[in-house]
């Protein structure tokens, strides 16, 4: 599990940030994206995949979360 931060980019998309590794990348897809259920698998532009527990859509961004690494692009 890793602490991550999700923010909204100026263009409106989601940006993924992993402080420990200083990894910042855009989120290309998110498994659940409805007001009631939001989260699941996050796919990043660099090929990495992370999982966050599904939850109601957060009221505001940026938001710090715990995420599980399913597939990292870099070692």
């Amino acid at each position: 599990m890793a602490n991550i931060m999700i923010r909204k980019s100026a263009a409106g998309g989601l940006v993924f940030y992993l402080p420990k590794r200083d990894l910042e990348d855009t989120v290309t897809s998110i498994e659940f994206d409805t007001p009631e259920k939001w989260g699941g698998e996050l796919k990043l532009a660099n090929g990495g995949v992370y999982y966050i527990d599904p939850q109601p859509l957060p009221a505001r961004f940026p938001l710090s979360l715990r995420a599980k690494r399913l597939d990292a692009a870099e070692q």
Partner: protein
Amino acid sequence: MSTTNREELQNLIHEVLEVYPEKAKKDRAKHLMVNDKALESAKKCITSNRKSVPGVMTMRGCAYAGSKGVVWGPIKDIIDISHGPIGCGQYARGGRRNYMNGVSGVDSFCDINFSSDFQEKDIVFGGDKKLAKLIDELETLFPLSKGISIQSECPVGLIGDDIEAVSKKKAAEIGKTIVPVRCEGFRGVSQSLGHHIANDAVRDWILPTRDDKRPEAGPYDVAILGDYNIGGDAWASRILLEEMGLNVVAQWSGDGTLPEMENTPAVKLNLLHCYRSMNYISRHMEEKYGIPWMEYNFFGPTKIKESLREIASHFDDKIKEGAERVIAKYTPAMEEIIAKFKPRLEGKKVMLYVGGLRPRHVIGAYEDLGMEVVGTGYEFAHNDDYDRTIKEMGDATLIYDDATGHELEDFVMAMKPDLIGSGIKEKYVFHKMGYPFRQLHSWDYSGPYHGYDGFAVFARDMDMTLNNPVWKMMQAPWKA
């Protein structure tokens, strides 16, 4: 740029790496690249923020340098204790020229070395008692300080002293903010982690103290983040922002104070100059207090113009007009400077190797003077810095991460730039080789270089260095 240039540079990288043993060669090859502007992300071409290869001459610092020297040092009303043996504090004192207003030793403490001066017995029996005593002494001698930070040196972490407990106890006793910073030098691969640790300490120990009693923000309140006032940089930036109608309430951390920092979460926008050393706290303030942040670049008129407009775009028409007014006011003066210095500097090639933001930020200023940056690199940058750099740099230019002494010297000998900008450790090597050199960490005892006023100084300094007749009279001793 032509493809031959790209090939030549690839060959050069190959040649320079030739001297290393197989393993080191493989490792270092990942840190050197020829720039390709078409790239979206630098990740695949350059590796950064990795441990230096043992046995090479790296130019990096340590976590203590990043915390005490960079982030905490310039805050003027906080006393920074270098907690540990005397050397770290002594050699980190006063080298960076982060200017401040105030009376040194009375209400400002940037240029004094406070150290707990560890001896053998402190290592054996622990240094906590000494630290408590030291804080009492500081209270007696410097009662006007607003707070104290404890900057750990390596032994403190090794022997497991509990500086947090001492801090809490003494803070309650003397009624001031005392911040323990766990920035032992052995943490991380470079000073970069020190910045992060320092930011986290500010987040945990300074910002929450006023969460329930912060003043109401004005509509145009902004904070300058990541400007360390080297040679007066923050002042040269500040006047431009104030002239366009903004209200600068805090400077992090050059010429900054503790109350300014505590009240920063009340601002409307955080302006971030040095991304590498203060993006962490900007992100935190964005999340917790909802303050947007943006990077800006105050080197050279072109970039200043862009930045002023971008800053103004976050505010209403009054500020937008203010930005245009400021640009219009300074443009004639800037044109005059460019007219004076461009003919003397045009077409000259520059190589840079500096720290967190300058390898990309100063490119615009050189281009304003008609100069070309042919190689650039960072000591301690991360991937996101290189993502930003590949867009600023020209095609088929050289980019090096954590360059070693050998690599940098060989690159310079092969590419023969007209000017080199790097740090004090590199300065005299290149002087002896007969290359014009500017020390770009603390502006070679000059400055400011930020803002419109700074550009005048910048242009003069570059001309003064580059066109100095002394370089033609020198020959490298090994060529004689």
